[in-house]
């Protein structure tokens, strides 16, 4: 999936606070699309807790965004495994107020969770983070063409999930 960071200089003189402030938005965007908005906050905190635990020995290769997104990705996968073991939540019957009602889109998050790793990362980086194929490739250590092919395969599998 994503390359291991190359050891260059230690990140340990950087206050975690600053790292969090720099990456909280990108991680929340990623996770909102990876696990759905209702579970994203919890997985977000699990992600940054894992990063905080590792922080004193983390190394900064200039791509700490890769590092935190890889942790987020693992936590999202853990979340999908746990969710797969639970019965699907029953959606409350919407009240007949005529207001727009959020669609029951758990199907979308479980379909995202079922994608092969490379396809899931590529489609989330492309759409949740609004990255170009070149940027998706750089983040995943692949060529832009491979990134594009992975996104295409993912879109094919996701198409028709929401009806």
């Amino acid at each position: 999936m994503i390359d291991s960071p190359v050891v260059t200089r230690p990140a340990d003189a950087v206050p975690f606070e600053r790292f969090l402030a720099e990456h909280q938005v990108v991680v929340m965007r990623y996770l909102s699309a990876a696990v759905g908005p209702s579970d994203a906050d919890d997985v977000f905190q699990e992600t940054f807790l894992a990063a905080l635990r590792a922080w004193p020995t983390a190394t900064d290769d200039g791509r700490l965004d890769r590092w935190i997104l890889r942790i987020a990705s693992r936590k999202a996968i853990d979340h999908h495994r746990r969710a797969a073991g639970r019965p699907h939540p029953v959606h409350a019957v919407p009240e007949a107020t005529g207001d727009a009602v959020e669609p029951p889109d758990d199907e979308l998050w479980s379909a995202v969770g079922d994608l092969p790793d490379a396809q899931r990362e590529a489609v989330l980086y492309r759409f949740a983070l609004d990255l170009t194929y070149a940027e998706v490739g750089a983040l995943m250590g692949s060529t832009p063409e491979t990134a594009r092919a992975n996104v295409y395969q993912a879109m094919k599998k996701l198409r028709g999930v929401l009806r």
Partner: protein, 205 residues
């Protein structure tokens, strides 16, 4: 572009608004797992906004607002731990005692101190300084004498200037010979303000 990928993009964008709140809740969970080594918060005061840094051992730093946060937090990260997060809860006791002090309702702080940002000599000087009570003054020479280094008044001055916990460790109560208002790392205007609050009278420096 499909309906599904549009949905992914839309929920991702909507997530941006929740990032700060989720990040804010992190400190409590980190503390619960023993991962919050340094809790920080800004607190308003009559001498400007103060950054306070609290560890499980106690209060490690009080920082005036003209000191660069990046530099101070970088030093705390190197000398104590880089596991630093903003936390209202873990700094509440310190902020409350400071508020009471500035309201004139507290004459001594009852806070545990983390002395890891003090060099050994400064730690000795600052321990002696902590025994100078509210509304009282001592000279650099007196502090030097109290630590058994009567000729070290100048080194005492330097040590006081490095005090990482001003206000709570009352280096503002140490003045020049004859009660003159001399140097203060936080600026003489702050020293004057703190001493006026405590009812001390000073000769112009």
């Amino acid at each position: 572009m499909t309906h599904e990928t549009e949905m992914l993009r839309a929920v991702a964008r909507a997530g941006v608004a929740r990032a700060a709140a989720a990040a804010g809740g992190l400190a409590e969970r980190a503390a619960g797992e023993g991962l919050l080594d340094v809790a920080v918060a800004e607190t308003p005061s009559p001498v400007g906004s103060l950054l306070v840094a609290v560890t499980p051992r106690g209060l490690a730093a009080v920082v005036f607002d003209d000191e660069h946060r990046e530099i101070v937090l970088g030093r705390i990260a190197r000398e104590i731990s880089p596991r630093i997060l903003t936390s209202a809860a873990k700094t509440a006791e310190v902020r409350r005692e400071l508020d009471e002090y500035f309201a004139g309702a507290r004459r001594r702080f009852e806070l545990r101190l983390d002395r890891r940002l003090m060099h050994p000599f400064a730690s000795t000087v600052l321990a002696a300084t902590s025994r100078v009570g509210y509304g009282r003054l001592a000279t650099y020479g007196e502090i030097a004498a109290r630590i058994g280094r009567p000729t070290a008044a100048r080194a005492v001055g330097a040590a006081l200037g490095s005090n990482p916990i001003p206000i709570v460790v009352p280096c503002h109560r140490v003045v020049g010979a004859g009660g003159k208002l001399t140097g203060y790392a936080g600026g003489l205007h702050r020293k004057e303000r703190l001493l006026a609050l405590e009812g001390s009278f000073l000769l112009p420096g």
